[in-house]
Symmetry: D3
Subunit: 214 residues, 6 copies
């Protein structure tokens, strides 16, 4: 009886307020890839169509195939794969590093990274603007942070497969792998050589390896 009365009265009282907050714009903005993107990210899916599955990503539980030349694999859960992170300033990926595996020197132009090792050993490092080097051998349970935009790398540091999860301070951190940026495109060899001081032979060999032209 009291309950019914309370229920009725609450209904009246908060109806205006709730109708306004129904859109929940500030709570979250699940990406709708069919609508325009802006500098702050994807446009939002209509709240009525959002489900819990937009906030859950299930693809990081399995080992990726590391039977490749770098004996490593990266599986991203960025906004393009995981629409719930749009606008929330976070994303994640999985690294698999077989023995001898390496994630080559790279940067994330728009985000810092926090790497968690959950299996094996990883030698990780970064270089700062004053060219100081920060390298550490990480074991299971260790965490290392790589400040935004700086060159860094990870290599397997033991005889067993290593697994790690990098988290990023952006729903789409970007990724610029040094060798791909220099050698896997049509940037003319003379320009690469002039701006990196690398030998012509070295540049041409790596362009061939990575599919670059010019």
């Amino acid at each position: 009886m009291l309950a019914k009365m309370l229920h009725t009265l609450f209904f009246f009282f908060f109806s205006l307020l709730l109708s306004s907050s129904h859109a929940s714009v500030l709570d979250f903005c699940v990406a709708d890839p069919k609508l325009p993107q802006g500098p702050a990210g994807y446009s939002c899916k209509k709240p009525a169509k959002v489900t819990v599955d937009d906030f859950v990503f299930t693809g990081l539980g399995m080992a990726a195939n590391t039977s490749n030349i770098i004996k490593a694999a990266v599986t991203p859960a960025f906004d393009a794969q995981f629409p719930g992170v749009n606008g929330l300033g976070l994303s994640i990926a999985r690294l698999d590093l077989a023995p001898g595996g390496v994630i080559p020197m790279h940067t994330h132009p728009g985000a810092s990274e926090l790497l968690l090792v959950v299996q094996g050993f990883i030698v990780a490092g970064f270089v700062d603007s004053s060219n100081a080097v920060y390298v550490k051998k990480l074991k299971k349970g260790d965490v290392m942070v790589f400040p935004q935009g700086l060159l860094h790398f990870q290599v397997n540091g033991g005889g067993i497969p290593a697994i790690a999860f990098p988290t990023f301070g952006s729903p789409n951190p970007g990724l610029q792998i040094l060798d791909f940026a220099l050698f896997a495109n049509n940037l003319p060899s003379p320009l690469v050589e002039k701006t990196t001081f690398l030998d012509d032979a070295e540049v041409k060999k790596l362009k061939a390896v990575l599919g670059g032209t010019g």
Copy 2:
């Protein structure tokens, strides 16, 4: 004569510049609810269709009906009601608290709040992450600030109706009322009990009051 000449020449001189700033994107972005929303808010209404009425909200002058169980009412002027605040990082609401009235324990997930009392007395308080309590009896002309995301409440602190105006550091601050979040939905009672340590009877009673199921 001089005036005419000046006018003519100014016209030439600033025409390019003015045409570029005509869109006034940086000045404001009045919400157009028919266009997509993004993480930064609503898309902008065309500048040519913006009028002064987009920047004025007239619904906060009248007392709202407080003849309800909590003897209180909230009237929001957020971006959904007040399109001019979109993108400007501010919004406002009106609180009416009859004698004995209460705004229940709640949070604003995305904004700090600055409460101005303009009539009567209000006992207001918040709790911080270290569980410290900050409570004060406010009178007409007093202001209290509630830091972002923390649980807080307001109750009438006198025998007369109280009026206050909370301002928020976001055009849509969000609002999560504790009792509604726990009891006014289909969150299963066992989960509520397990995660709040409340009795089964208490949970079921409040679910009944607030229209929750499960």
Copy 3:
């Protein structure tokens, strides 16, 4: 008995977590004016010395003296007066406008403003970058928003005293009153005249009124 056991066990369990969150840096940063300031605001008072009074400002309840030439008064509650707003992106002030009173043309360089009228009538307006004018006569309970950095003004719009409360999206919004900026300092008259197209006589008269030199 159960209560005691629960209490004991909770104590152990959360001790590390609580000790870390004890500093409550993210919850708030009450200004300590004796420590250095930075681009983001004042340094924080030690959490142990923070009290509820840091979050409450009591100076806005009384009418300020408007027996002056502009028949108006402004009482600020910015971070310098109200340390609790430091770092929270909000502040407030009180405007008293006697009949005939005026708050002269001005800007806030670092914040948008949301003006709430609580007594009387106020004619308020702003001008945007394309020189469009937005003017409205506001009555009790009306709200008007002034986008960041644009010239705006408020004048009493009735025969009775008016009171309003502007809220700002910054703990220190700044305030640049046009006449003070032009005439209340040592900016040489020739420079004022050249950059404003005002007459020499007008400039010198206003410099005399406002205490400017040069």
Copy 4:
């Protein structure tokens, strides 16, 4: 010979530039807890004293003790424990949930959370501002994101110990556990009851359990 010449000339060429970037302010700002804090975080340790160990945290590899009433434990690596994350907008923690374990209903006032499950099963959920519920049973390798400031919880969802790593979009996300905020302090019982609609008996029982007074 060429190498020596190059070295010498590079030295001259970049000396001014390098001396300016030596401070590396923009690269990172490792927390120095002895200096003042501001709204943006801790003051920075002198670059010359920064080592790789400031960027590595080693405390998350071991299971924490879950022999307590909630059969759970939280181990934080926030800025207070992990000085390298200061200013970088990221932090991490470890959750251990024994069978039957629960992380009670809570919010992070200043950050979104991305939870990665690495062992066992966890039922996790959150409630948004429109009181909609989002609950999912997560398994090893699943990730769930909890938008900033919303109430959420995690409970063990299987018969085996579960381990998860929440990452946060802030170096100090804050943590407000609902029961602690309501019952583990001196917030007077009548105020708790009035603002939560809980029974007096329930409030007093939980205050006793959690060490609250009043």
Copy 5:
């Protein structure tokens, strides 16, 4: 042979990762003026349609016509003219100041300005919120910074044409020229006079010059 193998294996390894980063949302968001705008700027052009010409602006190399009453000209390269700067927080313009030329007193509501003089002499200045004046005669190669939202001006400070390039911390800094805001629109003369303390004759003369009404 090795190169071919490497190429093949790299292709497999990074395909998932590259497909996700292909959209390059975080790298840049070139403005598409046909799509909606939001508080953070224009919507992004499809990455596949972006070319180097979106990142290059070629209109600042020629002197603009300064045969006008203020003997000056401004050529903007803001987001409306230069789509590549959208979302990147930067834009630029060119100032031409003939002998005797002047850029009248103005503000940029949403950005700080950094002015580089490349030819001639410029007397530049700004006034802060405490009405302090900062004026300096700048020569070729000098740089002056004008903090966001403050009134400032530039006048030719020598007998020869001056050229300068202001850069702004926003892709669309806005521009509010004082005389235009006061006199080049329909803001009624009595309101202008009341809020600026200028004489009626002065106001009417400048309104006539600048095309204002009322």
Copy 6:
């Protein structure tokens, strides 16, 4: 007489307001290098000690010495050299490129760059996260924007000395020159080789040139 009266009354009226804004914290925060730094920049110099010279930098007018191996020079005006830009999100530098000169491949970890060519010809380019190349030959008066964190370079594109001014969206953009990061420190050669796929001979040669060890 009127003037004196006005002056007196203004003095009373605005005294409280002006005293509060006197600190001008929001207007600017000129760097004081002797006080602590935080994530948002340097602590602020006392407003009373700020002069116009804090906002003016005079070192960019002269050609720097390009008689070095890369036939180029960079002269920065970042916050360490130019205290007025602290907290304002902008800085500038000067590039001198003799015929044949090159600014090697590099990134700015924390800022986008807008390059203005004022003399000669420059071939400039950047590579994005999808490895697409954007290269353009720039002439006097051309502007090119380089999005944050991406690898880019500039080389003299003509037979005459070139001069350009890069502006950055940060008071300290950071600078990571690829060759310095890889070869001018103690990062062990095997790690460099493994993470870049460069030959041992190439790595050792460049380490010798640039002063690296290991």
